[in-house]
């Protein structure tokens, strides 16, 4: 007989209770207005795909980002944070700038550069509220720590 699906869900507690530290100090401009909810839009501009996979891992139940009020949104117009993955290819500069134009104030921009130095990728243009620039492939817990530092969430479970 077919078991009811949610039984799988309630029999296991997969969410981890731990603190997540930001890899860098964030200079926030907007106080704690994102404390209750933070909507993040992901934009890949030329990553090697590891960062896309890390975002998928961040959505796993171990991190359970929704308990902190952090959500991934499908539109830049609903976003509080633009998370840019990779250094831009030349042709992705224009779509990236257009995405930046669509962000409603107030917002933050985070960039994660995972490209090899030998690749001739474009540098990031000047961006308003560019609060964090990471290099390499940060783990989901580091990305979550960074988002929690931006949101100044008090709902950090230990």
């Amino acid at each position: 007989m077919l078991k009811w699906w949610p039984l799988f869900g309630i029999r296991r507690h997969l969410t981890e209770k731990r603190a997540y530290k930001s890899p860098i100090n964030i200079q926030s401009h907007y106080g704690s207005i994102f404390q209750r909810s933070l909507f993040v839009y992901i934009l890949d501009v030329g990553s090697s795909n590891a960062l896309n996979f890390e975002i998928s891992a961040l959505e796993s139940p171990q991190y359970n980002i929704h308990r902190f009020g952090i959500f991934l949104t499908d539109s830049p117009r609903h976003a509080d944070v633009l998370l840019i993955l990779g250094r831009p290819t030349e042709v992705m500069l224009a779509p990236m700038n257009e995405t930046l134009n669509q962000l409603p104030e107030p917002y933050y921009v985070i960039t994660i550069d995972d490209s090899c130095d030998a690749l001739m990728m474009s540098p990031y243009p000047e961006m308003k509220h560019h609060v964090a620039q990471l290099k390499g492939v940060p783990s989901p817990s580091e990305i979550l720590g960074l988002l929690l530092a931006i949101s100044k969430s008090k709902r950090i479970v230990l």
Binding site: F8, S48, P95, D114, S115, V137
Partner: protein
């Protein structure tokens, strides 16, 4: 079967990189007949970034541009979908948004420096790229690699297969709004990535493989941990999968979506799970001798469901393969500090690896220890063409099931 993996042009001569019985070999083109043997020859020769670049017209037909900035397809890539509303009449794919010219960056680098670049083509296939590249270099410079290194490479390739297959199946479950299933599969995916980090120091198995050897091998304690964790992942996955295939709603979304016949799959140059789902046995497992033989999993339907079933069965087999190998690890433990030195400083060669989505092949030419020519042939390139072809005549809601079931990536296809 004979699989054309790539077409290489050097000094006005054209060579075909053909995989037969698990062995990759280069053949000079001497007659038009050699080219005609493979229907996808021009696709591999031209290596265009705009795939299926035709337009469709008719009453009410318009081009729907999906990408490069969209939450549906997170990578920087673009689909050109011709439609009059609900049905996709013709699908094309634009890879140019993700084209990073990685092969050009390898020129004038030493093989050791270029390994990082090979890994950066597509990080979730980093190990497959790294192994195919180093095998090409080892062939070019006449280096004989230790059996222990070969076995570790095989084990780590299966570790790469496990987390990639988990990712693909989790995405399919998520697209069908199977939230409980996709959450559990995501948690297994994260467990597999963490285990990769314990074994190799990288969640994506980067930086462990090198020309002629490995940078390090996992400790016995880590191997023991891997045996326990892979057994748990396999057990949990099997329970979830068996439960999920009893769900008629879920199966209905995958069944008959993006169906390819065996003849179509062969004519497109597919390899890996997408080809095996059409009932065709490839010989990629025979690319190198295994201590324990891996079975070749096939299905006959050729649709998204068949591709998922092939991946599911391979995932469980890969877990068993790793566990069985690690249990007998003492038999082939070796000192990773002892690297094989190249016999020559110049030469040309090719190498292949059995990635989670099919054959990755490299051609390299080295002169005085520096790379003068490098070409990577990836499974996502032909896979993108097949995915676009499969989208024709389906409705928009089938899009994620068809595209995700091929397990292809823009970064891998665009290089």
């Amino acid at each position: 079967m004979r699989l054309l993996a790539g077409v290489i042009e050097t000094d006005g001569n054209e060579q075909l990189l053909i995989i037969e019985d698990g062995v990759a070999q280069l053949f000079f083109v001497e007659s038009e007949e050699q080219r005609k043997e493979f229907a996808y020859y021009s696709l591999l020769k031209d290596r265009q970034l705009h795939l299926r670049n035709e337009s469709v017209s008719g009453p009410g037909v318009f081009r729907f541009r999906y990408g490069p900035v969209t939450a549906g397809v997170r990578e920087a890539g673009c689909f050109n979908l011709y439609t009059f509303g609900e049905k996709i009449l013709y699908a094309g794919i634009d890879l140019s948004w993700k084209h990073r010219r990685v092969e050009n960056a390898m020129i004038n680098k030493t093989p050791q420096q270029a390994v990082n670049l090979a890994e950066s083509i597509c990080s979730n296939f980093a190990l497959s790229h790294s192994i195919a590249f180093t095998r090409a270099i080892e062939n070019a410079l006449d280096m004989k690699v230790d059996m222990g290194v070969q076995n570790w490479r095989n084990i780590l390739l299966e570790a790469e297969r496990i987390y990639n297959h988990l990712h693909v199946i989790a995405k399919l479950a998520s697209a069908a709004a199977q939230k409980v299933l996709s959450s559990h599969l995501s948690s297994l995916f994260e467990e597999a990535l963490r285990l990769n980090e314990i074994l190799t120091g990288s969640r994506y198995l980067m930086g462990i493989n090198d020309v002629g050897g490995l940078h390090h091998i996992p400790s016995l304690e880590d191997m023991q941990h891997a045996i326990t964790t892979y057994a748990l992942i396999s057990k949990r996955f099997e329970r979830l999968f068996v439960h999920s295939v009893n769900n008629a709603n879920y199966m209905d979304r995958l069944h008959a979506s993006g169906t390819l016949t065996a003849d179509q799959a062969i004519a497109m140059g597919l390899s890996g799970p997408s080809l095996r789902a059409c009932g065709v046995k490839d010989d990629l497992n025979a690319t190198i001798s295994h201590l324990i033989q891996l079975p070749v999993i096939t299905q006959n339907e050729g649709d998204a469901l068949a591709r998922m079933e092939v991946r599911a069965e391979e995932l469980v087999n890969s877990c068993e393969y790793i566990i069985d190998h690690l249990k007998i690890s003492d038999a082939w433990n070796f000192n990773s500090d002892e690297k094989i030195e190249p016999f020559n400083q110049s030469g040309e060669g090719c190498g292949i690896a059995n990635s989670p989505s099919g054959a990755i092949a490299y051609y390299v030419a080295v002169n005085d220890g520096l790379i003068t020519h490098a070409q990577a042939f990836t499974p996502s390139y032909v896979g993108m063409c097949a995915a676009a072809f499969s989208l024709d005549d389906h409705i928009f809601t089938d899009f994620p099931f068809i595209f995700d079931s091929f397990g292809v990536h823009f970064s891998d296809a665009a290089r």
